[in-house]
Symmetry: none
Subunit: 207 residues, 4 copies
DNA sequence: ACGTAAGCGAGACGGTACGTCGCGTCTTACC
DNA sequence: GGTAAGACGCGACGTACCGTCTCGCTTACGT
């Protein structure tokens, strides 16, 4: 391995801090959390916190990035054998499995910070995997720059849409199975993509 | 009115503080602003600030709420004579007219806070005016509760979508005229509404 | 006046802090004192401390300098009408009057810091008032530079001597009246001065 | 001896730490030194430091005590064959030989700590060897307690005097040979002793 | 000559204090 | 009555060292 496998104590400290942050975000809201509160809950000294993280945002970022990597892995991951629809099901099933985690961070107590981050991540993800018509697409009259701009709009909107779907679903207490919310989200996304593709090539079917 | 028209000096202080907050948000980002900075820029004493506002959020809230009232007035306002499409044009034209203001607050430096607030406002607005199939709409097998839930999803998604459209448009430097972005947003919204209505309608595709 | 007379609250805070520092130096020793302890004892916030002083040393310095100014005033002060011997009596009577204050700061708990400062102050004072033979003094073979150097040695030694006399007297619980210790100190000092003057002009009587 | 001759590595560590402490005291002042700095300079781990010393004061104490033992040996050491004057010459010659060492520790950067310790050591030494009039000395009217007290004053003053002489001489860059400063110090000391003995002696001048 | 226990480096840990910053409250004097 | 000026209590920040504690590694020593 590249790094020489972290010491046991170090890993323990990290773990305790992560758990404490999630718990406290649920109880008191991320925005008003204090490093002191986190370390007290984690039964770790404040020094230990600052030895590893610059501030609570760095800790939160690591927690979130790790989760996002796994989450994005479900939808973009591996082989293309699976039909696209199934990927979204896997995506929401992952959210379902860790629903407490995502619910806390994306919910009201997570306070914008996590939601904004997720929106950005999903927008990136969509940008990368957006089924564009490709180079052969008839660009309309506005030229490729305008087309790229429109893709930007679409990607941004889609990223926000997925984030909002997840958040809504979790905040409602997951009123339907993952498969269903996945289907609905995919439908909405499909409609948006179809419209956006229409801008660039009017007669083009939505993938 | 009930309150006896505010003192001149009070109004002057309020105005100076509002301007200072917008300027500083642009320069340094809303999240890291301090009351001291704002009052210094406004050439007003810190005491004067606290006499009128609880904290910077209250000031920001008043600024924003006032703008939102006017903004929502463009789309939902008054008589139904205008065709819906024109309303969105008026909406974006208002954003266009105050583009610096909205650009600053919704942009990166506005730091989630204003964007989240706008998302909530627009979601409320959408909820109120969502063109549902009406009481005669066949509710499918899931019953009215599920239908309401789905409307919630749609409204949430639509609110986020509009917010994201505005933000994207402003951040790109308004790459197209208000009429065009209004049309595109309306198209996207229409597609989403159509899909959502489909869920409740007769030919509801299971998923 | 040059400065517009300090606010009442400010003076109160200063006073409380000074008293607290002296008390705590007596109880726990100056070296190990903490700003937090001082402010807690003074019933003043830590912020208030740092608003006025850089650290505990600055506070201690102001306390000490003020006392030293008054103390040195007794010996060097005003008109030359009094015989020199009486000046030393006044000097020790001042120490006697504030014996608790000086006892605490110069004692074991004062921990070198105050004693070193007093040694320096008294050395300065002696340097200024040292009854040198003046320009007419026969400089021996070593020249004026060497003479100045010897005066430096004498002044340094005398400063330390007085400091040590005071400290010793206070630590012993003032075993004799001020007049007596003053007389003894003056005798010792006179002997030292006589010897030092002898270096520069052998046959010269000790003033 | 009882302890089985220290391990080679232990001795090496001790030596490196001692040298580092003296060097750093010269460069940065003893008061502000940290254990980390000392061990870094000594190219030794912090753990190694704490294995041997409680803190920097213990290290400094050992360094100083060792030097003091040797220094005091020059003046009080061995046979009484030598005339007293020669002893002081030997004393200052020892200081001269290790002038860098003493200069650093007693100088401004040594910061009171070493000077205070030396003052105490020399006071002890003087107390032990003070040439009192002996048991046959007439104690005056105040009785033996008062006489002891006066001896205490004399010893304290003499200890400070010698310390100050050495410090002054070193700080001036040893402006005269050891023999000369030794002579001067001895003269000053002699004068002080004479005066003090006078207090206890028959013709005791009231003050 | 070699096995072993002591000393060693690296560095995380729980603490304590530091000096700074910003908060929201307050007092005072001015207009 | 509103305002400027600015001290105050409070509480969190991020930093610096403290003295303690594993944990492997190396190395002088004793048999």
């Amino acid at each position: 391995m590249s790094q020489p496998v972290e010491n046991l104590r170090v890993r323990r400290t990290r773990r305790l801090l992560r758990d404490a942050l999630v718990d406290l975000t649920e109880e008191r809201g991320f925005a008003t959390l204090t490093v002191g509160e986190i370390t007290e809950r984690a039964m770790v000294s404040r020094s230990a916190f600052y030895r590893t993280y610059r501030d609570k945002f760095e800790l939160a970022g690591q927690i979130f990035d790790e989760a996002m990597a796994e989450l994005l892995g479900t939808v973009a991951g591996g082989e293309d054998g699976r039909p696209p629809a199934e990927r979204w099901v896997a995506f929401f099933e992952h959210v379902d499995a860790y629903h407490r985690f995502y619910g806390v961070l994306l919910g009201r107590r997570g306070g914008d910070w996590f939601a904004a981050r997720m929106r950005a991540s999903l927008t990136d993800m969509v940008t990368e995997h957006l089924p564009t018509p490709g180079p052969g697409r008839p660009g309309g009259t506005a030229g490729p720059a305008a087309a790229a701009a429109r893709d930007g709009l679409a990607a941004t909107v889609l990223g926000a849409m997925f984030t909002e779907s997840i958040t809504w679903w979790l905040e409602q207490g997951r009123p339907c199975p993952p498969r269903e919310i996945a289907g609905q989200s995919a439908q909405l996304a499909g409609a948006v993509i179809a419209v956006a593709n229409g801008w660039a090539g009017p007669a083009r079917p939505g993938r």
